[in-house]
């Protein structure tokens, strides 16, 4: 197996061990803790008042526009990282090229700002 893949194998093993450790802690708790079921315990908690309706309902998610903007800039970040490592090789050419890219994306943010997308409704 190549060195590269092996590094990711270690990630998988580590994740398995971490989850295993958590399972052990939870199993340990199962041996100790009491089980005394009462119907009232399993009601939805709303500060002592009976819950009206359910939480799985239509909710206005106010930041969905931010989520769209987020995708834009996250993709930008993915492009910037490999470029950032090689900047020494590219020199001024790379610097100007990426400046143009960043400025264009910044204009997108400015547009959203001017369109009052970034304002709380």
């Amino acid at each position: 197996m190549s060195e590269f893949l092996r590094d990711y194998l270690t990630v998988a093993i580590f994740a398995a061990v971490a989850i295993g450790l958590l399972l052990v802690v939870l199993a340990l708790g199962k041996l100790i803790r009491p089980v005394r079921p009462q119907a009232d315990k399993y009601l939805t908690y709303e500060s002592g008042v009976d819950a009206v309706g359910t939480a799985w309902d239509q909710t206005p998610v106010r930041y969905y526009v931010f989520a769209l903007l987020f995708v834009l800039f996250d993709v930008e970040a993915v492009f910037i990282f490999p470029w950032a490592i090689q900047l020494e090789t590219y020199g001024w050419f790379g610097a100007i090229e990426m400046s143009v890219f960043i400025v264009i994306l910044a204009l997108g943010l400015l547009y959203a700002w001017r369109k009052k997308v970034l304002q709380w409704l």
Binding site: Y63, D74, L87, L109
Partner: protein
């Protein structure tokens, strides 16, 4: 090389990995526990003019064990309306991804678990998964407060993930690598305009990036002034409302392990990590496999202490102020930081 000698035992690669995983997990939980005792129990008591825990052990130092014992013996309650599977998975998702960020952090010249070439990228990618766990917890609880808390957490991640990543880009440009060991080496061997007496710790040369990074970390960790996902006076305890006993404890461990993880990452990226400036000592010396973890731990505690100091000093922001700070201040600033770093890097 598929096997090697450890303590006289012939071990296959996966066996070694399991042993090392257990080792690093213990090494992680120890500082997380110290954080809780030192900062959450004692520093906040001092700041608020009260004694804090005093009964369990000398100066209340066994308080943490007492608390864990308390949580473990509590009844496990899953609300009947909850999505049971997701409700159970969520804490694992939070804690395990937080622990995963530790494996790319170098603790010494050879003390690194997985020396990925994309180290910092991996850490940032994995650490943002834990917010998915928080969103899952909020949704699965089938509680309005929980859902609001989960949604706020998601909105917060979206807003502060970007300044965090873009602040790191400045460091990557200056170091010329995403490998965490490489970033440490670049700081130890660097020079500031020809002066190499203290290397080039990036919290000096990337000061703007460092400030943006620390603000974004505060928000990513949902520590006050950015603790709207929990916001006990508005949302009971946000996404944690329906969790009790040991599952609540898992979230709690996750939170403090995350402070430790970001403390370690900030110390590695901006403060030279396990190394001291190369002008002071020969960093390839084997002694640094012993000293390195201690040096990193000291820097980590410094950053962690700072995070908690802010947490107990500032009042909570409003949700709209949070979004506004990220989108209209931090992101433009970090873009400017990238451009400035680029020009300086190419010009000098």
């Amino acid at each position: 090389m598929t096997s090697s000698l450890v303590l006289g035992l012939e071990l296959a690669y996966w066996q070694q990995s399991i042993l090392r995983s257990l080792g690093i997990l213990l090494a992680v939980l120890l500082p997380a526990g110290t954080f809780v005792y030192l900062f959450l129990f004692k520093m906040v008591s001092f700041m608020q003019s009260r004694l804090g825990p005093m009964e369990a052990g000398p100066f209340g130092s066994m308080q943490l064990l007492a608390e864990v014992g308390k949580w473990i013996q509590k009844e496990d309650i899953i609300p009947e309306k909850a999505d049971r599977l997701l409700f159970k998975i969520a804490p694992y998702l939070v804690v395990s991804t937080v622990l995963l960020t530790y494996i790319v952090v170098p603790f010494g010249p050879d003390m690194i678990f997985a020396n990925h070439d994309t180290g910092i990228f991996f850490a940032l990618a994995v650490s943002s998964i834990s917010t998915l766990g928080v969103l899952a917890a909020g949704w699965a609880s089938a509680n309005k407060f929980s859902l609001m808390g989960g949604l706020r957490a998601a909105g917060q991640l979206i807003a502060y993930e970007l300044p965090l990543i873009l602040a790191v880009v400045g460091v990557v440009i200056q170091a010329g690598t995403m490998n965490m060991s490489g970033i440490v080496a670049a700081q130890a061997n660097g020079e500031i305009f020809g002066f190499d007496g203290i290397g080039s710790p990036y919290f000096i040369t990337q000061f703007l990036g460092f400030v943006i990074f620390m603000i974004a970390v505060q928000a990513e960790l949902a520590q006050t002034p950015f603790d709207m996902p929990i916001a006990e006076s508005e949302l009971v305890t946000g996404y944690l409302t329906e969790y009790s006993g040991i599952r609540f404890l898992l979230f709690f461990i996750g939170e403090f392990a995350a402070v430790g993880a970001f403390g370690a990452i900030a110390a590695t990226l901006f403060m030279g990590g396990w190394a001291v400036p190369a002008a002071w000592a020969d960093l390839n010396n084997n002694i640094f496999n012993l000293l390195g973890p201690l040096i990193l731990m000291a820097k980590m505690t410094l950053v962690g202490g700072f995070i908690f100091f802010i947490r107990f000093t500032m009042p909570r922001f409003r949700e709209d102020q949070l979004q506004k700070l990220a989108w209209t201040v931090l992101i433009p600033l970090s873009l400017v930081n990238i451009l400035a770093t680029t020009i300086l890097k190419v010009a000098f």
